[in-house]
Symmetry: C2
Subunit: 452 residues, 2 copies
């Protein structure tokens, strides 16, 4: 019915149906829509129609809708639904999405929501909340179907049919033994292709790739990406199957981690998007800026300690922004390569040594090229060959220092289990500012009497 309608047309149609109280027709329309579309339509509805929209929506679709909304909207929906219906909806939500919602609520609010839920569901969510953030345990779901290895294909399919709602987004059945230990995996495709009387034991794949509950979510994503898996099983330290991470969550992790790297490299502050309020955004950015302000003052302090040199050759100031800027930039270039490389590489001593040697080589190459160029330019501009040599020589050294700092500092942070992107962006820019000014004025002071 709505097959060829645009989203705006569907919205108008839904409003009409809501006004006319046609619940059956409403349900028929909604049945054709994807959760993402339902969420967009809900968000776009005039406020006065939202309550009836929620009232008409079936519970399973309400749970789907919840999973697509952002936090503030989720809380708004729960308020509209009232505590009793809310608990029913929460029962139906994926546990990992639910954990994300509950994570930042006040303990009282969380308790009141959890207490209305089914015991098994609320226990599952509480379990998830016990794992540290950004681990496999935190993003896994318990909504998967397990089978035993002595099952026949027919029994497996029958169990799958019973738990149809459960198994919605997954495409493997995980096989466990009597101790719930993970012993194999069978894909839906294997089931379709197999004979109904075959034993799962004979068709299952035994070398199952799994991750531990405590595994970092970035590693989980990397594993799934390497193996092109649609889901990855999560086990505890006794190899007992406790959950699965699905590919949609893995895509979310990949996007989130990339955004985090960008946030950190650009020191842009945590989680600022288009909808963040002015004072929240300002408050998240200010710490970095104030840090940078003080760091900038260190640079100022260095310059002031060379005040006499600067007073005698004011032209030295003309090249300051160029040298500091170039050094900072070459450091950021190296940093970006290292930070992104660490995501996809397993790091050992050989890799580190080769990388540092490579970047050292790059620093020298870049240093020679830029130094020759600036020496000539400085000489032509200021008509002073010594000044040209001082500027060129300084740039040569600072570019090598900048490149190495951009390479080595993130590797050291990584070695000590600090996320290399965390402090590196501003840290490296700052250190490079300080290094470059000291090198520049140091060299200039040495040649001062030739410069004047």
């Amino acid at each position: 019915m709505i097959k060829n309608m645009t989203q705006a047309e569907i919205s108008l149609h839904i409003i009409k149906v809501l006004k006319e109280n046609k619940k059956a027709e409403f349900e028929a329309i909604l049945e054709e829509l994807q959760p993402y579309d339902i969420a967009k339509i809900y968000e776009g509805l005039p406020e006065k129609h939202k309550a009836k929209f929620l009232l008409f929506l079936k519970n399973d679709l309400l749970a789907d809708l919840m999973e697509e909304l952002d936090k503030d909207e989720q809380l708004e929906v729960l308020n509209k639904l009232g505590i009793e219906k809310s608990s029913k909806i929460l029962d139906l939500m994926d546990n990992d999405d639910l954990a994300l919602l509950l994570h930042e609520l006040s303990p009282e609010k969380m308790d009141s929501l959890l207490s209305g839920m089914k015991a098994e569901e609320s226990t599952a969510v509480k379990d998830i909340l016990n794992y540290p953030p950004e681990t496999a345990g935190r993003i896994m779901t318990n909504r998967f179907v397990w089978i035993r290895n002595y099952f026949s294909v027919r029994e497996a399919v029958d169990k799958l049919k019973i738990f149809a709602e459960f198994a919605e987004t997954i495409n493997y059945l995980y096989v466990i033994d009597e101790e719930r230990k993970l012993v194999g995996v069978v894909s839906y495709r294997d089931l379709l292709l197999a004979d109904m009387d075959e034993k799962i034991n004979d068709i299952m794949y035994e070398r199952v790739i799994s991750v531990l509950v405590a595994t970092d979510q970035e590693v989980v994503a990397r594993t799934a990406e390497r193996y092109d898996f649609l889901a990855i099983p999560v086990v505890d330290d006794k190899n007992v199957l406790v959950g699965i991470v699905t590919v949609d969550d893995i895509i979310d992790v990949v996007i989130r981690e990339a955004n985090e790297d960008i946030e950190k490299l650009s020191a842009s502050g945590k989680a600022i998007d288009f909808d963040t309020k002015i004072f929240v955004a300002a408050a998240r950015r200010l710490p970095w800026l104030i840090l940078l302000l003080f760091i900038g003052l260190i640079s100022g302090r260095i310059i002031s300690s060379f005040e006499d040199t600067l007073k005698q050759v004011v032209a030295l100031a003309f090249f300051m922004p160029m040298i500091a800027g170039m050094t900072g930039n070459t450091g950021t270039q190296s940093l970006a390569v290292v930070v992104r490389g660490l995501i996809s590489h397993d790091i050992d001593k050989g890799v580190v040594t080769r990388l540092i040697a490579r970047e050292f080589g790059v620093g020298i190459t870049i240093g020679v090229t830029c130094a020759v160029l600036i020496s000539v330019i400085a000489y032509i501009w200021q008509g002073n060959m010594i000044l040209g040599a001082v500027v060129g020589c300084s740039l040569f050294f600072t570019l090598i220092i900048g490149t190495l700092a951009g390479t080595i500092i993130p590797l050291i942070l990584y070695r000590f289990n600090v996320d290399p992107a965390v402090a590196s962006g501003p840290l490296i820019t700052t250190l490079n500012d300080i290094f470059s000014l000291m090198t520049y004025f140091g060299i200039a002071s040495m040649f001062l009497h030739y410069l004047i």
Copy 2:
């Protein structure tokens, strides 16, 4: 057999089996491994064992192996296999992976490889190569199973069984009509749950979300991510089904696009990773650095035009790095928010207006805070209240300018279909350097006789 062995143990075991010429045992081991593991083991083999490894490997696993290797290794394998066997392996590879491999080969090499392949496979690859890079057409595969809407579930399952190899990584069957137009979709799960005699027409989902062949790969990824799809069908402008994009390719797109944003924001040069050679890496970074060198000279030129002011109040130089650094950084912060936001948002006038207003507010908030702070510090340090006021006042204005430049410039680039990350990083830093120095020295010159 190899269930509990580490990868190093498996490698050693494989070398032993290769030495003893036990082909059957070799195949039994390989059957248990994932393509990614096979590739890692192959890469780690001593050179002398590689040829026999390839010789023993079944064709379908060879194709899997190829898909995991990087380009140089792929060409090495093809050379080892010889042209005849190569063509057989290429027949078995996913078309999108094959297109990626062929894309950068010389026309002669490409022709010699294509000419040995099955006509239908080489035609499919050539078709893919005709689509522009970074579009759905370029990353889609033709290895999917289509069914007709009048099929029964039994017929669909039978067809799936015949094309088992084909349908390996997909979990939906796409339904087409007599003109090959896409009319529905059925998941494997739907097939498992349905009665064997039901008609596909009755169980299929009709409102299929699809993308066009010319759709940008970033939009394809965004669509799949929103709907949590495992695959997304690709149609031409007549709604004829021509291919599908699978979730593993979507994850690759997400990672590649994030890396590109980081490369561009940090001006780190295209595609430099841990294995890039020194001179290649240096050559890719130098253009940005040389551009920045000249831009740095513009800053120098501005300072030199205020030489008299600077000569009379050398202390002004002490605050230069801080003001330029802060302005550059606040610009980068805004830029990062905009660049990442553009990926997940549909942009309209309302969004743009709200965003600019928000960032203006953030600029004022940050500006007031930092200006007050630096005024006090500058006064205490240099004992000159006017100097404090000049520095604070300059910082206030430059932070607002920096924030707005970081917001508006990428939006303008986006409006004119230039990737906002392309030029923004260095461009914004540079412009902000110039703006900040002009503002600072402009204000300082106005108050010069109070400063001395």
